[in-house]
Symmetry: C2
Subunit: 272 residues, 2 copies
């Protein structure tokens, strides 16, 4: 039977739990890794949270999230860079080797302009990322978020950007939810791996119907994404890291989280 | 001032109106063309509807919609082909030179399988389309519909399919709502034009936020799509046809439709 050593869970997946509760329950179940969302750190000394997670033998996979670079005013773009530096400091304090970037989009300007600002924002962060030994992963988001969340909407585009930036500190997070529909996905995953840009792999499922554009993600097996096939592709591309379960769901957040965690484990074993 | 001769409106845009009401109001306003949704024909003799539209000097641009080819069972796929033949007969009776295809997707099978079935379905229709002198336009749909409405989710994919089918009876409908986010859109529109596959051009806007995945399209100018830029691209690609306003909106359907029609006219002149 598949073990849970490569299973990582995002704290937002079990949002009703504090990070202390999440860590205890994940560890008890044998989950290997945890990705920490910044809201879970509020009011805590970050280095102590890192110690707590390591005491539970949870591998800290990444910090979510930086990004949101585009803005009409230069002042706001600078503020975004400062916030990303803060995220890098937090990741270093926590002991997370990676920050996931939701790159941002500004509906008042063209996608081309937003994409240029995203690249410039990431490039401005590289020295800080390197000095803190924290990598950055561009996460291409589903095209339905192109209006306001990310102007990077395909793996092809993320590959282009990572290749243009060309730094060992900048790579890509592949999330099946955002990319499953793309007929170039297999070849773009191979390209991503060849360039050593495949930094993270996120899983969940696309429900039919999807009732909310943000908060109705499905558990693996509940929708129409062929997760084992895409996992096979990332492995074929050389990826050996965690399979990170990232689910935003009003429905699951209303459930007893221990029951939900058991469902995650079963879905992970059976459908991913 | 921009005139309305290239403006075409889809009957579904003013859904609360019967086709007789729509025709009268569109014609009075000086709208050049009409695209007829099949539901608007219910209970009517189709050739008489065609006569009525021509009497109003409305150019009949297309019939919406055929498609929905993929299915797990061969029997259902055959039923879809039969329904598409019926749509071709309706288009011929109406005097519409084109049918728009929402190609369909079947969540119980892979996108690759659905895509193959779509191509086979369209190919099966070509002799019937030719004998009735009705063209077919593949409409690539936004990736958020890949689960259940269309497995054709980018213009690149639609171009591939139209080139593979390689018939003068099969081309593509470009809808800004589905395609605006794509960083390859300009080059794919050029490719589409070069191959004489650019059969139709649909406009509306992407609202931020979008509150419903199906029924919250915006009027031109209300969202973040640069419609004049994309219109410039289709014209650059040689397109000289209508600019078809296709808006599904609970909000606008609740409005007095004459007020809405005036808004469409103003938005068309100012933002498209």
């Amino acid at each position: 039977m598949k073990d849970l050593r490569k299973l990582c869970i995002h704290t937002i997946t079990t949002k009703p739990w504090s990070i202390e509760e999440a860590a205890e329950h994940y560890a008890t179940m044998g989950v290997g890794g945890i990705t920490v969302w910044r809201d879970a750190l509020e009011g805590r000394k970050i280095s102590q949270v890192g110690d707590m997670l390591r005491k539970h033998q949870l591998d800290i996979v990444s910090l979510c999230r930086g990004g949101f670079f585009p803005a009409v005013s230069a002042q706001k773009r600078q503020a975004a860079i400062e916030d990303n530096k803060k995220a890098i400091e937090e990741a270093a304090a926590l002991g997370a080797p990676l920050i996931v970037l939701v790159c941002g989009a500004e509906p008042a300007q063209s996608l081309a302009t937003s994409r240029k600002q995203i690249r410039e924002g990431i490039e401005a962060l590289i020295p800080y990322a390197e000095s803190h030994q924290v990598k950055l992963a561009i996460e291409p988001l589903h095209p339905m978020y192109a209006g306001d969340r990310s102007a990077v909407n395909s793996l092809s585009q993320a590959n282009d950007m990572a290749e243009m930036i060309d730094s060992p500190w900048v790579g890509i997070a592949v999330d099946v939810y955002h990319l499953w529909w793309d007929d170039t996905l297999h070849s773009e995953i191979m390209r991503c791996g060849r360039n050593n840009h495949l930094f993270a792999f996120h899983i969940c499922d696309w429900k039919v119907p999807t009732e909310d554009m943000l908060l109705d993600r499905g558990l693996m097996g509940e929708g129409c994404i062929n997760i084992p096939e895409i996992r096979g592709w990332v492995e074929e591309a050389g990826f050996e890291g965690y399979h990170e379960v990232e689910i935003f769901s009003k429905r699951y957040w209303q459930m007893d989280q221990q029951v939900f965690l058991t469902k995650i484990k079963e879905a992970y074993i059976q459908y991913s």
